[in-house]
């Protein structure tokens, strides 16, 4: 090769290298421009284009009964949305989706043609349905992972558990009361995505994980709850009643084993039920308790040593108090009643006589001591106080109706709590539905300990009252509540319903109730049965007592409590 041609070759090489150098220089300058001079602007633009901030919804905690049976849980669900600006051929898409989602084609078409960048098409649908839509690969249709609340036992304990809204916030019942515990905390994922929507592995990936909600274990026993609901429904149907409720409680610990309400509703389809059905009537509704209050009047008289159980009263079947005539439920000649018999056979006249001796102040004090006119403190939303008129607000005839439970109001739970004081030898315990709160690893976060109740009545009075209430079952109005092999104590109640306009009482509307506990020697369960507006038969001893018997008999055997 000649020197000349070599020289020419070198020049060409240098020219190419120079070109490359210039090229690199241009790229480098552009890089400096992009990465330094205009860096901030481009960064913002790029972030907007690639970064996606995704909220990670926490898994809502489960609800279990005392034996670990699942009552409420959350399942993965998919929400389908659309960006109408990207939708082409909306009519055919609407018809395709209508078949899969089973939503009216017109409704879908309306949504798809909306002048908006985001519109929900269907919320919280099954994964399998979502998969079918995904397979269609329609541009402008997107999917969000959400969770859907499921209640495997449908109607069971529906009033107690309650339900959540579309955004998983508790709306009713314990779902509402323990919403903070169950809900958890949402997390956030900041991720860089490619144009197809896949995450870029080397890109930004910032994860603040969600904290799942805690699980709640209730004191409710699924089996007793089922039996309570079954018995209540059968009773309501038999007596063609309007509504009713039952509470089963451990009188020593205050643990609620069951709360049944009628009418009931399906938690998985609560939107189809009337909103009045959602009330947990045993806690939120008031009624005039009727003769069950005679127990408190009797206990007060014994505690104040005004009367002894064996004291005898000569009683007519009616008595005039102010402008009112108070009658016993059945006509009878004037006869002798012992103090015990007044309560066991539920004499209104006798109760008024005892009440008159006690006086309005002491009656009010004892009603307050037994928890009337104040909340029990149960962990449930919407509890009401009830109404006991203050002594200065009593009318002339108040002394003639409050001693047998009219002219005042209470919840079923208050009445049951009052009877539990007798069962518990004078100790008042706070009722509770929560047993434990556990985290996702099963670690106990909170455990409700059995509190030592407050002594509100002497043991002697409580024991004497227990014997009187046992008499009410063996010889009195509560005979239908007797259980083979077990000693039962309780009291019947039949109360007239007050008129809604406040002018006296309804003529043919009654509330029949029975409240009792068993076994008398060591009470393990206390039950109240309240039936609203039974037809034809109205007495608590005939309507509510048999329900108590069936439920108590079942529960005692189920709980393996030895016979008396």
């Amino acid at each position: 090769m000649s020197a000349k041609s070599r020289k020419r070759g070198n020049a060409r090489l240098f020219f190419i290298i120079g070109l490359f150098f210039l090229g690199f220089l241009a790229v480098a300058m552009r890089l400096v421009d992009v990465q330094a001079v205009e860096a901030e602007r481009y960064e913002d633009l790029a972030k907007k284009q690639r970064l996606r901030s995704i909220e990670i919804a926490p898994k809502r905690g489960n609800v279990y009964d005392r034996n670990g049976n699942l009552l409420a849980t959350s399942a993965d669900a998919v929400t389908v949305y659309a960006n109408p600006y990207f939708i082409k051929e909306s009519e055919s898409i609407a018809s395709q989706l209508s078949l899969i989602l089973k939503i009216d084609e017109r409704t879908l078409l309306e949504k798809l043609n909306k002048d908006s960048g985001f519109v929900y098409l269907a919320r919280k649908i099954n994964q399998s349905v979502a998969k079918r839509i995904k397979a269609l690969k329609i541009e402008g249709i997107g999917f969000l992972n959400e969770s859907k609340r499921c209640y495997p036992c449908d109607e069971l304990a529906s009033h107690v558990i309650g339900f959540v809204g579309i955004d998983n916030n508790g709306l009713v019942g314990l779902e509402m009361f323990y919403d903070d515990v169950l809900r958890g905390l949402p997390g956030r994922l900041l991720v860089e995505k490619d144009p197809i929507g896949r995450s870029i592995s080397t890109g930004i990936f910032e994860l603040s994980p969600s904290i799942d909600g805690k699980d709640v274990i209730l004191t409710i026993d699924k089996t007793i709850q089922f039996k309570a609901e079954e018995e209540l429904t059968a009773c309501i149907e038999e007596f063609n009643a309007k509504s009713g409720n039952i509470i089963v409680m451990n009188p020593k610990t205050g643990e609620i084993l069951a709360i049944a309400n009628y009418p009931s509703f399906d938690l998985n389809n609560y939107t189809q039920a009337d909103s009045s059905y959602f009330r947990n009537r045993a806690i939120t509704d008031l009624f005039e308790p009727g003769s069950t209050i005679k127990m408190i009047i009797g206990a007060a008289a014994l505690e104040e040593r005004i009367y002894e159980p064996t004291d005898v009263f000569r009683l007519p079947d009616r008595i005039k108090v102010a402008d009112k005539i108070i009658k016993d439920s059945h006509s009878r000649p004037t006869e002798d009643f012992t103090f015990t018999r007044i309560i066991s056979e539920s004499s209104n006249v006798g109760a008024v006589v005892i009440g008159q001796k006690l006086g309005k102040k002491r009656i009010c004090d004892y009603l307050s001591t037994f928890g009337f006119g104040q909340k029990t403190g149960i962990d449930f939303p919407g509890e009401v106080r009830g109404y006991v008129p203050a002594p200065e607000k009593w009318s002339g005839s108040s002394i003639g109706n409050i001693p047998f439970g009219q002219g005042m109001s209470a919840t079923s739970l208050q009445v049951l709590q009052a009877f539990s004081i007798i069962a518990n030898d004078g100790l008042l315990v706070e009722p509770n539905i929560l047993n434990k709160i556990i985290d996702t690893n099963g670690k106990i976060i909170k455990e409700v300990e059995c509190k030592q109740g407050e002594k509100v009545l002497s043991s002697k009075t409580a024991k004497r009252m227990k014997q009187i209430l046992e008499k009410a079952i063996t010889e009195g109005t509560g005979e239908n509540a007797q259980i083979d092999s077990y000693r039962v104590a309780g009291k019947t109640g039949t109360a007239q319903k007050a008129r809604t306009d406040g002018k006296g009482y309804e003529k043919d509307k009654y509330v029949a109730s029975f409240v009792g506990f068993a076994p008398v020697e060591d009470p393990q369960i206390a039950i109240i049965v309240v039936i609203d507006e039974p037809k034809e038969v109205i007495y608590g001893g005939h309507v509510a007592a048999p329900v108590f018997k069936n439920l108590a008999e079942f529960s005692l055997r189920y709980l393996k409590i030895p016979p008396s």
Partner: protein
């Protein structure tokens, strides 16, 4: 003669000198060119290697994402089974099947007898009494 010889040799020496100079420059050029080419090749190789690695990372990331999707599906399936299990345990359903489909009946009430120590002693005494009588 000697002078003639000297004269004859001189130009040759000059030519050799010039030739040597040229050889020295070319070697320097060859070395710098070789170096540039090598660096260029190394850069290309690095770029190629990075591209291959990037592709492999991206592919793995896609696989991870797919696996996560499968995991999510499996979790959903598991949840579904848990719910189904709880539904199957529903007392209402069990009772309906037991009474309706299987023709079972609610058991008659069982009366339990509480055996106290006194009961046992009395029973034993009665039995011993009976044996004593029998042996008489």
């Amino acid at each position: 003669m000697q002078t003639a010889k000297k004269l004859a040799h001189r130009p040759e020496k000059k030519a050799v000198k010039r030739h040597l100079k040229l050889v020295t420059n070319r070697r320097k050029q060859d070395v710098s060119l070789g170096f540039i080419v090598m660096v260029f090749v190394a850069l290309l190789a690095a770029v190629a290697f990075s591209a291959v690695q990037q592709t492999s990372v991206t592919q793995t990331a896609i696989e991870v994402e797919n696996l996560q999707e499968i995991l999510q599906e499996e979790r959903a399936c598991n949840q579904k089974l848990v719910i189904e299990l709880a539904q199957l345990k529903s007392p209402e359903r069990i009772q309906k099947i037991a009474l309706g489909r299987l023709g079972m009946v609610v058991p008659s009430k069982v009366n339990y007898v509480k055996i106290s120590d006194d009961n046992i002693k009395n029973k034993l005494a009665m039995r011993n009494n009976h044996y004593e009588k029998f042996s008489d």
